[in-house]
């Protein structure tokens, strides 16, 4: 009995930890979608770039390393907007999406070249690895990073919610996400709002890079690729049309994946993706506008 309970608590901890990280990614993806109507498949490569930065600066003081990670990711995020998103603004959603595939491959190929300069694939980001140690909570071992992830996610989400509701740029961003044309004719500056969304989305990618490298310090060009795909799925399942439903969707898919993994018999865990994606299909069929979206379908016709 106590064994079962302890497994459950540990699993629950992991589920919250992964859900929190995915929620952050979902916000990053959802913010940019809100203002640009663009599903950024290359979001994972921002995180990857941050992870490499952490690896290459792992000899530096931790704070400097983290700051440079954020700087690189935000700069790359802004560059992506300038070079790619801006010329695409009037393109069809399919073209936008496929272009971000190409950008994702491009960044991955560049990372491969940089990574292989030392003749070995992969770099290690070790400076913040101590966060990966476990602490005992009521007899259950929980990794410190789980608390950090949940804490960072909650903090970031609350801060973002405050910015979006209390500041002018936040109001303008929400208006642009809801009806860009009307926002512009009221004088809301498109470029400024988009830059804001892109920078915040970059900051979130930086935070995710830090959290993910703690859990998996071995950085390769496809770092965070799989997570990004899963979060994109979660965002649509939750309801991409609104930030909070997208965020919940990201959280839910991380949370549920961990629980399903724990519930499956050991010899069946290889079929975890099938189970999760079958759930995804069922939810989409029942609630095509999003699991958490009520009374809104318009956005689904866009792509």
């Amino acid at each position: 009995m106590s064994v079962l309970a302890s497994i459950d608590l540990q699993t629950l901890g992991d589920a919250f930890g992964l859900g929190a990280i995915y929620a952050l990614m979902a916000v990053g993806i959802g913010l940019v979608f809100g203002v640009l109507r663009l599903v950024n498949f290359a979001y994972g490569q921002l995180i990857m770039a941050g992870a490499y930065t952490l690896a290459y600066t792992s000899g530096w003081p931790v704070a400097a390393s983290i700051v440079s990670c954020f700087a690189v990711v935000v700069a790359l995020s802004l560059a992506m907007d300038r070079v790619v998103f801006r010329p695409l603004r009037s393109s069809s959603p399919a073209v936008m999406l496929v272009t971000t595939f190409a950008i994702a491959f491009l960044l991955q190929a560049v990372a491969l070249i940089i990574d292989l300069r030392d003749g070995q694939l992969g770099e290690v980001a070790s400076s913040i690895a101590p966060l990966n140690q476990a602490v005992s909570v009521g007899g259950v071992d929980v990794r410190k990073v789980t608390f950090v992830a949940v804490g960072v996610a909650l903090g970031a989400l609350i801060a973002l919610a405050l910015v979006l509701t209390r500041t002018t740029i936040g109001l303008h961003t929400r208006a642009a996400a809801s009806d860009f044309r009307t926002a512009r004719l009221l004088g809301v500056r498109a470029n400024r709002v988009i830059a804001f969304a892109v920078v915040v989305s970059g900051l979130l990618a930086g935070a995710v890079a830090v959290l993910l490298t703690v859990q998996n310090p071995f950085v390769q060009p496809d770092f965070a690729l799989e997570d990004t795909i899963i979060v994109l799925v979660g965002v649509v399942v939750g309801g991409i049309d609104r930030l909070w439903t997208a965020t919940l969707g990201g959280f839910a898919i991380g949370f549920v994946s961990v629980l399903v993994n724990a519930a499956l018999p050991t010899d069946q865990t290889v079929f975890l993706p099938s189970v999760v994606y079958a759930l995804v299909i069922v939810v989409l069929l029942l609630r095509p506008a999003g699991l958490f979206a009520w009374g809104r379908r318009a956005a689904m016709e866009r792509v």
Binding site: P87, L88, E301
Partner: protein, 337 residues
């Protein structure tokens, strides 16, 4: 069905282009031939995707599932029985003890692809937009997961080898032509035209009594059958295959080919597949890949991908409606150039 001259030109353009590539393949050196064959198989796959995505306007990331099913079905069923007992020890006895020839394997792959697409499409074709994109992507994930882990139907995560390499210049060319002709007949048929009209205006199409769900399902099934067929061509070209080769990368690459060529036309599908394959082959040759390096990717190997991705992104940004502008092949088009 009666076709005007213009309609026939619309078919002849892509068909002739494919035949030219096939002829080039026969004149190329042995080491270069594979690039041409690869390009022709890409044409078959991209045309299969076009039949659903291009005509219905619904995004699907799932069509490579049908390529995968076709490839593994054709592959597993054509490995000679004597070899199978040694290499595919875990599969169902009925699969282990029987093999079929080249042509039956192509037909089998097409049939399986079509049936699979029909079954999957029945519930999923109610969706559109991003929901459809993600649901079809889920199909790809499940297909990949099952093919990779269920060793009773195939090699699982290991390589399926010893598949007869029957896709030479002739089979690749004919295969691509079959895909093009089927796509052409479908898009010119009444039902194909109805579906295309529904893409432009779903509400109007519905109001004149078009059952969009049914029309999409038909396109999805035709597309699935063509994709299964193309998968069989592919496995017979490669001679050996793993589940990773018919998964994410192929999905993104073939979709990129379609969009780069021009999402809304058959001509675009063919041109996009050939242009991107051609570019990729050119870059491969340019980096002297004669030397087979397994682990240490040379610096050059990296740059090929950088160039390929950068050029694809550039084309999409500069010409968002694709190289063909999404229009069909016309003679006027030739004159204007």
């Amino acid at each position: 069905m009666r076709f005007s001259l213009g309609a026939l030109v619309e078919l002849l353009g892509p068909a002739l282009l494919v035949i030219v590539v096939g002829l080039l393949a026969t004149t190329a050196s042995a080491s270069n031939e594979v690039y041409f064959l690869n390009a022709l198989v890409s044409v078959a796959i991209v045309v299969a995707i076009y039949v659903f995505v291009g005509i219905s306007g619904v995004l699907s990331f799932g069509q490579i599932s049908f390529v995968a099913v076709g490839a593994f079905a054709a592959g597993v069923m054509t490995v000679p029985v004597e070899s199978k007992k040694g290499v595919l020890t875990t599969i169902f006895p009925i699969l282990r003890d029987h093999s079929v020839g080249n042509v039956p394997s192509l037909l089998l792959a097409a049939a399986l692809g079509g049936v699979f697409a029909f079954v999957v499409g029945m519930p999923l074709m109610r969706l559109s937009g991003l929901a459809a994109g993600i649901a079809t992507f889920a199909v790809l994930e499940i297909t990949h997961n099952v093919l990779r882990e269920w060793t009773k139907i195939g090699p699982g995560a290991t390589t399926l080898a010893l598949v007869p390499e029957t896709t030479g210049a002739l089979q690749a060319t004919l295969g691509a032509l079959v895909a093009i002709v089927v796509a052409f007949l479908y898009q010119r048929s009444r039902r194909g035209r109805l579906l295309r009209a529904s893409r432009e205006d779903p509400a109007v199409a519905r109001s004149v009594g078009v059952n969009i769900h049914l029309e999409r399902l038909l396109a999805f099934t035709v597309s699935g059958a063509l994709a299964g067929f193309a998968g069989a061509l592919y496995v017979h070209l490669l001679g050996s295959i793993t589940t990773e080769q018919v998964y994410l990368e192929l999905t993104f690459l073939t979709l990129a080919m379609l969009v780069i060529g021009g999402l809304t036309s058959l001509w675009g599908a063919v041109v996009g597949a050939l242009a991107v394959s051609g570019l990729d082959s050119f870059l491969s040759r340019a980096e002297q890949s004669d030397v087979h390096v397994i682990f240490t990717f040379t610096l050059w190997q990296g740059t090929r991908l950088v160039f390929l991705a950068a050029i694809m992104a550039l084309v999409l940004i500069l010409r968002p409606s694709g190289l063909t502008g999404g229009r069909e092949f016309r003679l006027r088009w030739l004159r204007r150039r």
